[in-house]
Symmetry: C2
Subunit: 220 residues, 2 copies
DNA sequence: GCTTTGTTTTGTGTATACAAGAATATCCGG
DNA sequence: CCGGATATTCTTGTATACACAAAACAAAGC
């Protein structure tokens, strides 16, 4: 797209994702317009889009704020996330082509390398590719899109996840089970393992909850 | 909300749902503005919202059209729909309160009455309530919201579903199994039955496909 | 000192004006 | 009569202007 509101959307979305704009923070249309060198109109349209995506909340006559998700909402969203990923896995086990299986194994191998090298940042990135490989195997574009959307929506909070001791190794072993289930064609098993894998990340929400008040203080 | 674009959104959404605006149809901003007695600004904001929801597609500099879903996309969306409903069922089997179970049984009974009376329209409505009762049992607001969103998005096409012979009775029997699984606390069974129940509706897409070209001709 | 109410101020919602790109029609040559 | 280049029109994208509601603030009353 060549339109302003489209590029703006990506930029602001990124700012929210990396925490430059914090949950609860008020988004002043005029200020954003000035910052990006455009008028209020495209800014407004951007905010409306972000609101439809759930990243910001617009209250009539009271402006837009970055959406703040309470612990309850986060738990619910992680639960849905785990179900979506599980579904991807179940379908992937049935539908993956040999080429896609190779890609999955390669992504898995890359994770192992990152784990062995003890590089959490690399692992984080390779982990994304691993999950993307599973998504692709579902052969359901709509499902993939939905899953990615939710992932992006959870990103600002995932960022807060503390680096838990041994999480890398544990995560890798969980991946291992998933890979075997998928290449073995056992959809139900793959679904169950993936559901647990994602939920474990989600269940770190106790840590998240602990850091939430602080986050909101920062925003004020 | 007291804002124009919000009320407009509901109105246009409804027009799309009931087919007054047909898939592929071009949505002229000025014309809509005149029709609803407002300026182009709120109309634009409405269209952007609908685009984010996937109900319309905006191509830069070329305006908005009501989203047309091809057979492939419909299949994919029904597949995801079935998974979401299945998830609602699995959670409901574990989480429903006695009161909610009573509500589910009541909704089921209402479906039976409608079936016995051979009233497809009533059944259609009662069926919605039945599914809503399951959603509620999941105790996951986010999941419920996602499921409803997708349901609404599929509505314009569901409307096309031919009244299949004996579909009422079959549907009712499928419901029966689901109810028993849920009150019996067997989440996996409930999930499987619901998945199949929804997919059967989706697999009527061969009928849908047949009616699609006609629908698009109407829009032209 | 605290609450309360009136005023100011700020910021959103809508309308209108303007600019730019796409669709369409027109005009000319072949 | 037809095809292509150009001009015109039409619609969208953006900017600006205005109106109004809500929040912030100040002053007065209790």
């Amino acid at each position: 797209m060549t339109t302003h509101s489209a590029t703006l959307r990506e930029e602001i979305e990124e700012m929210i994702a990396i925490g430059e704009l914090k949950p609860g923070q008020h988004l002043d249309e005029t200020e954003l317009a000035a910052r990006f060198g455009v008028s209020r109109t495209p800014v407004r349209e951007t905010l409306i889009q972000l609101a439809s995506m759930g990243l910001v909340v617009i209250r009539p006559r009271r402006g837009a704020i970055v959406a703040e998700l309470g612990p309850q909402q986060l738990v619910e969203m992680f639960e849905v996330m785990s179900e979506l990923e599980a579904t991807c896995g179940r379908l992937a086990a049935r539908r993956m082509t040999p080429v896609e299986q190779q890609a999955l194994l390669a992504a898995h191998q890359a994770c192992q390398d990152a784990r062995d090298a003890q590089e959490p940042d690399v692992y984080y990135y390779k982990n994304e590719l691993f999950h993307e490989a599973i998504y692709a195997g579902s052969h359901n574009q709509f499902l993939i899109e939905q899953t990615r959307n939710l992932y992006r929506r959870l990103r600002p909070y995932r960022r807060l996840q503390l680096r838990v001791r041994d999480r890398l190794s544990t995560s890798y072993h969980e991946h291992d089970g998933v890979v075997q289930a998928i290449v073995g064609g056992d959809g139900e098993l793959a679904a169950r393992l993936l559901r647990e894998h994602v939920m474990i990340q989600g269940q770190r929400f106790s840590d998240l909850m602990a850091s939430l008040p602080q986050l909101q203080r920062d925003a004020a």
